[in-house]
Amino acid sequence: MGSEQSSVRMDEDVLTTLKILIIGESGVGKSSLLLRFTVDTFDPELAATIGVDFKVKTISMDGNKVKLAIWNTAGQERLRTLTPRYYRSAQGVILLYDVTRRDTFVILNNWLNELETYCARNDIVNMLLGNTVDKENREFDRNKGLKFARKHSMFFVEASAKTCDGVQCAFEELVEKIIQTPGLWESETQSKGVKLSHREEGHGGAACGSY
């Protein structure tokens, strides 16, 4: 990933900036997923995330550049009380669980409640992601995750931040869906009063510096 400065310079041809959250229980691999997606590496010895971290990555989607500000939080409940506002204004959420850890799956309902409480909008795109599918001691098969996701109108992907399996496609699917829901990102751009100087007819987007 380029530095923040370099991506700022590219803002002129960026269709929009999207805020995406990665959430889920402590130790399910949120930071690993973020690291794999943004710089394509895996570090088995990643320290626990304290507070909030983020990375910026620009991706191409059907010929348009989309800048993603991806936010990653600590998993422990009390640390999350520090940043309720962090949920607001997000367009997409990736909710992670670990397919080898029952406790991280059974608690998913709590996470959905939390999202409902703090998210400002109800058309936010949610994705459920079963991580660590490379491991052999799986506790949950694919269908269980899929069923949960369907019940709650979420996209569903199984992935492994370690092997890279499914990671790219998870983010692409999420971003594609957000882009297909223009109300999600266009209203965001306009309500902030950002100048739409780079907007072209039929192009349907604008550079935007909001997070």
Partner: protein
């Protein structure tokens, strides 16, 4: 050990630490601690799972005993890094426990209990101090709509562990044990003041978050002797009365917000 009262507590309560370890099982607490064992100083050979002797077991014991001792706090992420440092410094499990108790139970005002009210309060207090002492930075943070918690929560939660270089953290902790929690504001204000120009270049929230990471790196933070002199000169006067008053008003404001 002596100045923080940890030694006195340890002398007064012989066998208490070991009783805690042999106490009733506490599955929730045990799982939460275990999740973080591999994720505490993963780069330090002594904390590797395969190390001999392995400090992961020591860390587990200290955190478990503390969670049982102070049930209002239990285990909060961040305490793993603090306990880990104490273990490396003292090389003694029981002393680490009593020092952790001195920090979490007495020196820091309610940082780690589930509501984290003391921590939230201190982040706001820092915000007030920046507004008063470094108004340009205060105005920028406000204009960008960045929460102080995004910028500095790690500083407060980990007491600068893995934020500043080891030697500098140890010097800061000396002051913390001797003089109390006010020192955290001195360090934070000094870092911000010293790098004010850089911070003021920020144009977005991610941008300013990045700047706040940058300012903890580099030679200024590494030169711990000069750094420690600066923290007592740069931020100017910072009386206990001021901090106490700010803590009261910020706490009241947070409670009113719910």
């Amino acid at each position: 050990m002596a100045l923080s009262g940890a030694q006195t507590q340890m002398d007064r309560n012989p066998g208490y630490y070991h009783q805690l370890l042999q106490g009733e099982r506490s599955p929730g607490l045990e799982d939460a601690i275990r999740t973080d064992l591999n994720r505490t100083f993963p780069d330090n050979v002594k904390f590797r799972r395969t190390a001999e002797p392995c400090l992961q077991k020591t860390l587990y014991n200290v955190l478990l005993a503390y969670g049982r001792h102070n049930q209002g706090v239990g285990y909060c992420q961040g305490m793993n890094f603090i306990a880990g440092y104490l273990i490396l410094i003292t090389k003694n499990e029981e002393e680490s426990f009593w020092l952790l108790d001195a920090l979490v139970g007495r020196i820091l005002p309610d940082y780690y209990s589930p509501a984290m009210l003391g921590l939230k309060t201190d982040q706001e207090v820092l915000g007030e101090l920046v507004r008063a002492k470094l108004p340009a930075v205060g105005a920028l943070v406000e204009r960008l709509g960045a929460l102080w918690t995004l910028l500095v929560s790690r500083w407060f939660i980990c007491l600068f562990v893995d934020v500043l270089p080891v030697e500098t953290v140890l010097r800061i902790w000396d002051c913390l044990f001797n003089e109390g929690s006010k020192i955290i504001f001195r360090v934070a204000l000094t870092l911000i003041k010293q790098h004010q120009a850089l911070i003021l270049e920020a144009t977005s929230i991610p941008d300013i978050c990045e700047k706040f990471k940058q300012i903890t790196q580099g030679s200024f933070a590494t030169e711990c002797h000069v750094f420690m002199q600066k923290i007592f000169s740069e931020p100017g006067s910072l009386s206990t009365t001021t901090v106490t008053k700010l803590r009261e008003s910020c706490r009241a404001r947070l409670l009113a917000q719910g």
